[in-house]
């Protein structure tokens, strides 16, 4: 039995402790916002925050995150109370297919948690853990800048 703290909720998982967190999120908890992309932690589509830091849930065994706070994109914000990253993505329409969005939103959120005014090159470097195939990079980088503006304005 592994204890997981997902979006502030405590859940017990009977799955094999080696099981990647992604499958527990998607299939047991119904949290489909973390997407499967590669299974190797190379594309970022499955990114969640563990202790506030971005982590790829597709190659993260649940045993490694037992008892640690996990935030998924569903726990970041919703339509009524969007996280600044989510607001900014919508404001700038910074996506095409949207499959990589979870990685961009979660990585951007973690970056802004530590830094209030990241430079463009810091944003790019942070997002290098996420692959976008549609080519929405330029808008997404600008969306992180805008999210920083939104966050600053609201504090």
């Amino acid at each position: 039995m592994t204890t997981l703290l997902v979006n502030g909720r405590r859940v017990e998982s009977e799955a094999d402790p080696d099981t990647a967190l992604l499958y527990i999120l998607r299939n047991d908890l119904g949290l489909k916002g973390s997407r499967f992309g590669c299974g190797d932690g190379m594309c970022g589509a499955c990114t969640v925050l563990v202790d506030g830091k971005p982590a790829t849930s597709c190659n993260l065994p649940i045993s490694a995150v037992a008892g640690r706070p996990i935030t998924t994109i569903e726990g970041l914000g919703d339509e009524e109370r969007p996280h600044p990253m989510q607001r900014a993505i919508l404001d700038l329409q910074a996506a095409q297919c949207g499959y990589c969005l979870t990685g961009v939103v979660m990585t951007g959120a973690a970056l802004l948690d530590g830094q209030h005014a990241p430079s463009r090159s810091e944003i790019r470097a942070a997002l290098d853990g996420v692959l976008c195939r549609c080519g929405a990079h330029d808008r997404m980088v600008r969306a992180v800048e805008r999210a920083a503006d939104i966050a600053r304005a609201s504090t």
Partner: protein, 714 residues
């Protein structure tokens, strides 16, 4: 617009396209599918515009073979050009029918009525909502096709940046893709494909794997091999073990490189031939160069996925296929059932950019579901399945020579292009012979779906078909748009296809425009002309000249550095398919430790623009994807199989490597709308190559334009 007339003949009633709910919601059934290009939003806008409604009152339905018009494949940047025009006429017809009904009911001449905010407005300003006017009979009204469209300048909806209707679900992490579909009691499936194409399964430890925890079935039929388990992590483990414990007989060896194409037997089509070759005395010199691109992967971020359910006789599958009716035909053929026993429902996948593994995965899911009647099955390809088995964009070679006069003018242009076909989707005529699509000779049947050829009772695998017209497929954009007095353009279609290929965004246009626009630069340099001015010498079309003019101004072309000291600007231009959108691109390249594209400017003219922000987004995405293809990408292989099977061996452009973009969209509301998603690929590739030359004096002609190749050439 011939296709619009044809589709309206097949689906002549308003109700084939549209209906109105009791609460006033207008429902839209279209055959064209969303894959991140924003088509649902554009469709909602078009219908809202014709019917004078807020976009939020329009609901675009999932595309399904039980209800939606069969509009073939959503591809070729044609969804806006064709499908939406059909839908637009249907919406115009509904507006007229509503006005007629109100006119009769209120005994007011139609000319005195207007529509606004979902209502017919009477002269006394009273309003009748659409939902109280519509009935079944009205939806059976036949669309003539010549109904007057709402003025494109009226209101602000058409041509305004309406936000994407599909984006909130994705931003907040709600289920949005076929990958997220979950049915009660659903099993998880994986397939185990051979190490190389055409290998044959000899033995497999099916019993041992069947006994693993959670495994419900190991499915084997010929070389098709898959496994089903209760939990996803269980099926992944089982599939890995199944692969380790299986033995395949090698198939045909892959060639050492794509260069086999230049020696292969070809069937040749003259794409263009006009003018008379110049007399020898007029020719000052002949220039020639050969360009190439490697096999390219679609490399969707989300590997292909499908969910299927069967009762043993009938089949239902949810898929991110771009052509659900064609897929249904293909599934019925492989399953040997009537088409009406198969229902195909579209759900979004990750961006596909052409024919990726979507259709193949749909058959895989159905074959697994057949083994467990009554139980739904979710089949997901793993990353290496997608990289090894998706049909790639074909490698291409382009050889151009030009005769140049003493004044530096081009007198004669010869363009030859080699490559495999670009069409191997379900429904591609030629790949699926027209005769066998309904009935016909089963012995002659071929299938485009991988598993169809793997079964114990197989159907022959198809190869990508030759182009249906000279200027399509490998011939797309092979004919330079420039006013050159004499030319010959030939497409050498290579039938021998050792590596499976199908449609990749822009088909032949990427390599053809890369070659033409690189060569224009080479000639301009040779005769000492400014490459931009040199192109203008051969362009009289004002729309073409305008996009070049815009990008010249935006990029500061005339004041650019010309010292070849590590930084330079390069230009690329094309009119997509020679009759579509006009695009001009300038790239700013810096060569330091590596080749970096710092900025890209683009200007486009795509006629009527439905959603300028959506179009800009497509344009931007096309630029970055083409930059990625051009700078970094190539499918690698050995005789034993594909070796680029993950993101390390098939790297794509990262955020740090992506250029900053500045795009300009010229709106021409009275010109027909043109797709933009593919139009920018060729110009971008050439602009980068030309900028590398401008920055360094080094000309790279083989994609990808890598640092290693640069060092070798310098």
């Amino acid at each position: 617009m011939g296709d619009v007339a044809a589709i309206l003949r097949a689906y002549p009633h308003i109700g084939h396209w549209l209906s109105i709910d009791a609460d006033g919601t207008v429902r839209v059934w279209s055959g064209k599918v969303e894959f991140g290009q924003g088509i649902r939003t554009a469709q909602a806008q078009i219908v809202a515009h014709e019917l004078a409604l807020p976009v939020a009152r329009v609901q675009v339905e999932d595309v399904t073979t039980t209800r939606s018009p069969d509009e073939g494949v959503t591809s070729g940047s044609r969804s806006v050009e064709e499908a939406n025009e059909g839908l637009r006429v249907a919406a115009a017809a509904l507006r007229l029918a509503l006005l007629d009904r109100a006119s009769r009911r209120c005994s007011v001449p139609r000319e005195q009525l207007r529509v606004a905010d979902g209502c017919v407005v009477l002269p006394d300003s009273n309003r009748i909502p659409y939902e109280s006017l519509v009935d079944e009979g009205m939806l059976e009204t036949v669309i003539n096709g010549d109904e007057p469209l709402a003025d494109p300048d009226r209101g602000s909806l058409l041509g305004s940046a309406v936000p994407r209707v599909d984006l909130p679900a994705k931003v907040f992490g709600r289920p949005a893709f076929v990958h997220d579909l979950e049915l009660p009691g659903m099993l998880h499936g994986r397939v185990c494909r051979p190490p190389a194409p055409q290998a044959r399964l000899v033995e497999s430890a099916t019993d041992e794997v069947a006994a693993m925890p959670g495994v419900r079935a190991v499915v084997r039929d010929g070389t098709f091999l898959g496994v089903l388990a209760e939990r996803e992590e269980q099926v992944i483990r089982a599939a890995r073990r199944l692969r380790r414990l299986s033995r395949w007989e090698p198939g045909l060896a892959l060639p050492p490189s794509a260069a086999f194409m230049l020696q292969a037997e070809t069937s040749d089509v003259v794409v263009a031939e006009d003018g008379t070759p110049p007399a020898d005395g007029d020719i000052s010199e002949r220039l020639a160069a050969t360009y190439s691109r490697p096999y390219l992967a679609h490399a969707s971020i989300g590997p292909s996925c499908a969910v299927a359910l069967s009762d043993g006789e009938r089949y239902r599958v949810w898929t991110h296929s771009q052509g659900i009716y064609h897929l249904r035909q293909e599934l019925a053929k492989v399953l040997r059932v009537e088409e009406d026993h198969v229902e195909v429902i579209h759900r979004e996948g990750a961006g596909c950019y052409g024919a990726n593994g979507a259709d193949d995965a749909a058959l895989d899911a159905v074959l697994l579901a057949r083994a467990v009647p009554g139980t739904p099955v979710r089949l997901q390809w793993m990353r290496d399945d997608e990289f090894a088995w998706e049909p790639f964009g074909t490698a291409m070679f382009v050889r151009i020579s030009a005769d140049v006069g003493s004044d530096g003018a081009i007198l004669r242009w010869n363009h030859e292009v080699w490559g495999n076909g670009h069409r191997n989707r379900p429904g591609s005529a030629g790949a699926v012979g027209a005769g066998e699509r309904r009935g016909g000779d089963p012995a002659a049947a071929v299938t485009n779906l991988i598993a169809g050829a793997e079964l114990a009772d197989p159907i022959r695998a198809s190869v990508a078909a030759p182009p249906p017209t000279p200027s399509s497929g490998g011939g797309r954009n092979a004919n330079p748009i420039y006013a050159i007095p004499s030319r010959r353009v030939v497409n050498h279609y290579v039938a021998h296809t050792p590596i499976r290929v199908s449609a990749l965004r822009s088909l032949g246009a990427h390599a053809n425009v890369f070659a033409i626009e690189s060569f224009m630069d080479e000639i301009a340099d040779h005769v000492g002309a400014d490459p931009l001015d040199y192109r203008l010498r051969y362009l009289s079309d004002q729309r073409a000249r305008e996009v070049i003019k815009r990008v010249r101004a935006a990029s500061g072309w005339d004041t650019r550095a010309r010292d070849r000291d590590g930084r330079g600007l390069g230009l690329g231009f094309a009119q997509y398919k020679n009759d579509g959108a006009y695009v001009a691109v300038v790239a700013d390249v810096e060569i330091d430790d590596d080749i970096a594209v710092r900025r890209v400017w683009a200007a486009c003219d795509a006629g009527l623009v439905v959603n300028p922000d959506g179009l800009a987004n497509q344009l931007e995405g096309g630029i970055i994807q083409a930059a990625s293809w051009t700078l970094k990408e190539q499918v690698t292989f050995t005789p034993d199989g594909i070796t680029s099977r993950d993101w390390t061996s098939y790297p794509i452009l990262t955020f740090s490597e992506a250029p900053e973009l500045q795009v300009e969209v010229i709106s021409r509301p009275h010109e027909p709308p043109r797709g933009i998603g593919e139009a920018v690929a060729g110009p971008t590739a050439a602009a980068i190559s030309n900028a590398i030359f401008a920055a360094s004096g080094v000309r790279l002609r083989d994609m990808p334009l890598t640092r290693d190749r640069f060092i070798r050439a310098a």
